[in-house]
Amino acid sequence: MAEVQGQGYIAQALGIADVLAVSYFDGLNYRAHDPEWEGRDRFLLSIGHYAIALYAALIEAGIIPEDEIETYGSDDSRLPMSGMASYTPGMEITGGSLGQGLSIAVGMCLGLKRKQSGSFVYNLLSDGELDEGSTWEAAMSAASFGLDNLIAIVDVNNMQADGPSKGILNFEPLHEKFAAFGWHVQRVDGNVIADLVTAFRAARACGQRKPRVIICDTKMGKGVDFLEARERNHFLRVEPEEWSRALEAINAGRAS
């Protein structure tokens, strides 16, 4: 997708790919042919610019046809740069105005409980979104309402638009913070599939009347050494000759 544009939120996408793979191939209940099936688990992407990664997951899950991949970010594409609900099957909300997803998730969880549904709402948010006050309004209310059907996934890749997240506003200690807000908290290496699978299953099964959060420490540019090494990698430009090197690196990582 990004190769067509030559640039994009590539490092975030590589960093979150493992989390999305576990979400769509172990965590979530859904029907690929019926993205609005009432019994599905809802996956809310509040970080709109991570859409590039979610599109890949939706393609792998069979919700979007693979041949649309080349249209990413182009005129009239169903795959805009920043994810929007009205454009893409499987995209539950319009993200991009960061810090809105968790509040919407709270409302959906309340609605699902009213319907006595057993579905879960997942909200993938970034460490940057922890700067937004609304995230904490939602965190406080989710615990207050005992929303045990809510699973927040925080991608801690420690990179925001202006630089490393912890240097923008220090959000640590994050485990303790969510625990103090009344959440069931797990923190895992977000690039270790086995640990993610365990954490996702534990989040569903924890049995406490609490919202659950899985804090995932991820590596920007994961799997492509020269992208991992770039210092400012919030929005990456990748040169034409670098794409084949990047693919080789990913495939080598897969084989090993």
Binding site: L110, G111, R114, E137, A138, M140
Partner: protein, 339 residues
Amino acid sequence: MMRDKYSRPHVAAQGVRLKTSAMIASIAGDDQPTRMAPFGTALVELAKSRPDVVGLSADLAKYTDLHVFAQAHPDRFYQMGMAEQLLMGAAAGLAREGFLPFATTYAVFASRRAYDFICMAIAEENLNVKIACALPGLTTGYGPSHQATEDLAIFRGLPNLTIIDPCDALEIEQAVPAVAEHQGPVYMRLLRGKVPLVLDKYDYRFEIGKAKLLRDGSDVLFISSGLMTMRALEAAAELERSGTRAAVLHVGTIKPLDTETILNEAMRGGRAVVVAENHTVVGGLGEAVARHLVLNGFSGRFHHIGLPDAFLDAGALPTLHDRYGISSQRMAETIRNWL
């Protein structure tokens, strides 16, 4: 306005009771018929036939009349705390799950603090959320923190959003089921507590998007919304005593604007047109009407009564309505001087 906080005001003698901003629970006149909490009462009535209706408050249920609904349907009421962004986000989430949320707070907090959530989580996705807000325009003496003098200007720019500015208790009661029936987001200005009853004398029927002529007159045409329609009717009666015949066209829906009726009335009979609104003169009904009239060849006399482009004073509401020219007496004076 430049205010000097170090200049001591006149202090009344002991025992003299001053007018205070606390004496503002109702905009009703002393001998005016009123109804209590029309919004809350109408919502309870609606909820009987609509099991999808839920109510949300950001710690202001008692002050938006939503407490009436909360008492009748505690299981359908959500207390979101003093968190307006969450209020709007959660309302969007409930609408996504098929419910019909009425999200309530003060107009200042909805329009200023929660705007981005209303814009992106609700309006951009055309979700069925009804936002009902107390203290629109100048309906409290608490000063700019509570006076939503620019709420219409803020919300008029928002695509998909329907905007209602009801005049009285009757219109609020009729608007609640109407906005529930309407598919899409709605912003409704609320009058709360003891709300004047005015439109029952005019055989009024609220319809979304329809302006209604309440009285006819050959000299002046008031085009007004919200409580200013009540004031326009009073001013028209006052003007009649000095021989000026004024018509009153009530515009209960600010957006979409009933441009057809407004143009027809403005073009009929060469009357002087006066838009009256409980809102800053910037970006509200007056500018919307003026734009439409100019685009369609209106070249008659036009006047605009609204609040100044300023942060308004704190004080007692009757004092402030006089000071800023939106009391019926001041309106009548303004029109007499202008004509």
